[in-house]
């Protein structure tokens, strides 16, 4: 296919397959680290709200550590540090784990805020009918908290999509990595990165739209979440 010229800029369709492969890697890393973050983040949040003793302290320490140190340091520790303990991970797996552990700490804080915003009477009512604490959390508190958490959680998802480009530092060829290789070979830095920016932008739009639909779908009828509705 011919190159496309646009206002003095030259785009080459031959870049697309490589960018496509990079895009798949970006989506895989984002998806996996978000999934890891949700599971770990929920556990951490529940421990920070309901835990006592060591469980509480350890979960708090975890959150403080991962929010208090740079993501890049965490990634390099997983990739270059763990082998000295005999744990050797592929660049891809290192990226997923470092990003997942990191986002878990942030997600835990969003979950915790949502859990704590559920009125105390909900737990009281659940316990008063004989539910165990775990049942009350599972059937009463979390279903309400998870609905509330969608908007702030959406920000975290979008941030992770963009931050995932940091895996280039451990030689994973994601969308950003693919762009750098193409640019380095063709010297078309400006064009390649315009293209990449547009792809990220499209992804963010798509994700925001999906999450708004999700929010709408799980909305509890009658609760004041309708957009623009007076309170």
């Amino acid at each position: 296919m011919d190159k496309i010229e646009l206002g003095g800029l030259v785009f080459d369709p031959a870049w697309l397959p490589k960018l496509g492969q990079g895009l798949v890697v970006t989506l895989e890393i984002t998806g996996l680290c978000i999934a890891l973050g949700i599971v770990l983040g929920l556990i951490l949040a529940v421990l920070r709200v309901y835990g006592r003793g060591p469980l509480y302290w350890l979960s708090s320490l975890y959150v403080q550590f991962f929010r208090g140190t740079p993501l890049l340091v965490q990634l390099l520790m997983v990739y270059y540090g763990l082998p000295s303990w005999g744990i050797v991970l592929s660049p891809f797996v290192s990226g997923v784990i470092a990003l997942g552990l990191n986002t878990a700490a942030y997600q835990a804080e969003y979950f915790r805020g949502a859990i704590q915003s559920i009125p105390r009477g909900q737990m009281l009512a659940a316990r008063s009918m004989g539910m165990t604490r775990a049942q009350a959390i599972r059937y009463v508190i979390l279903p309400q908290a998870l609905r509330l958490v969608i908007p702030p959680w959406s920000n975290e998802l979008i941030l992770m999509l963009k931050y995932s480009s940091i895996v280039y530092m451990v030689t994973v060829i994601d969308l950003m990595g693919a762009a750098r290789t193409i640019a380095a070979r063709t010297f078309r830095y400006f064009e390649v990165f315009i293209l990449v920016a547009l792809i990220y932008l499209a992804l963010v739009f798509l994700l925001s739209w999906l999450l708004r639909r999700l929010e709408e779908r799980v909305r509890v009828p009658g609760l004041g979440m309708e957009r623009g509705a007076p309170h």
Binding site: L124, S128, M129, G130, Q144, P221, G222, G224
Partner: protein, 264 residues
């Protein structure tokens, strides 16, 4: 359900003590909220507790199933000592209904699911059986047509009636009500009190913290006046209104009669 309760009564006798509270104490920090409270409730009785704000009425109700841990004293539900060692508290709680001032319906569940959830998760009934009981109890409080509505789609009075159905569905031995109408607009208290009066007439055993004098007169077997963490005086409502032993009782009852009126 009515029939079941009748046979129960004949088997165990109408004088069966459902709840016994003995010398209950509770302290929050330096403030002693309950300073030795004792009373008994027999099967089918309705006791109404009144008293000034901050007197420990809510604390007392929550201590009964140890939702709040009492410091001292003993509590029996039937022949189970709630304050005893190794008691299965969740089982105890499943047999005692609790109706709250601000309803505390689970906001993410429909009326039907609110009534059903305890049957499914605590009593572990099969779904169709739980659904049948839940529908019957919604009908009992006149809300069969609102089964699919979410709490936010219901009026306060309707929400409180769903909460009562939720308590009833568990077939409780006793229901505790903590100011069930005080969060409601005056025009909505009637529908809730009507349900409660009907329950009392059907033979439900109830302890009700409420300043609705009309309800106390219509349904209470005994009125308990609490102040400063102790029971000052208790007796049939008529007796307390007409010839209270203590001037404090007379004064307080006069005040709430003026505030809430004779017709609840």
């Amino acid at each position: 359900m009515e029939r079941e309760r009748d046979t129960d009564t004949s088997r165990r006798g109408p004088d069966e003590v459902v709840l016994r509270v003995e010398d209950l104490h509770k302290r929050y920090g330096r403030e002693e909220v309950l300073k030795g409270v004792s009373f008994e409730v027999r099967r089918g009785e309705t006791k109404v507790i009144v008293g000034p704000s901050g007197t420990g009425k809510s604390t007392l109700l929550r201590c009964i199933t140890r939702l709040t841990e009492p410091d001292r004293g003993r509590i029996w539900l039937g022949d189970v000592e709630v304050t005893g060692r190794g008691v299965d508290l969740n089982r105890v709680r499943a047999s005692v209904g609790f109706v709250f001032q601000d309803f505390n319906l689970f906001t993410h569940l429909t009326a039907l699911d609110n009534v059903r959830i305890g049957l499914l998760k605590v009593k572990k009934l099969p779904k169709d059986e739980a659904t049948e009981i839940a529908r019957k109890q919604l009908e009992h409080v006149g809300l069969a047509h609102k089964a699919d509505a979410y709490p936010a789609e219901l009026s306060g009075g309707q929400q409180q009636r769903v909460a009562i159905a939720r308590a009833l569905a568990m077939e409780p031995k006793l229901i505790l009500f903590d100011e069930p109408t005080s969060a409601l607009d005056p025009e909505l208290t009637g529908e809730v009190l009507d349900v409660m009066v009907a329950l009392a007439k059907e033979g439900m055993t109830m302890v009700v913290v409420s300043h609705e004098i009309g309800f106390a007169r219509a349904a209470a077997d005994e009125l308990i006046f609490m102040e400063g963490g102790v029971i000052v005086e208790q007796g049939p409502p008529d007796q307390l209104f007409r010839q209270p032993k203590y001037p404090r009782t007379a004064e307080f009852l006069r005040k709430i009669t003026a505030l809430y009126g004779e017709t609840g």
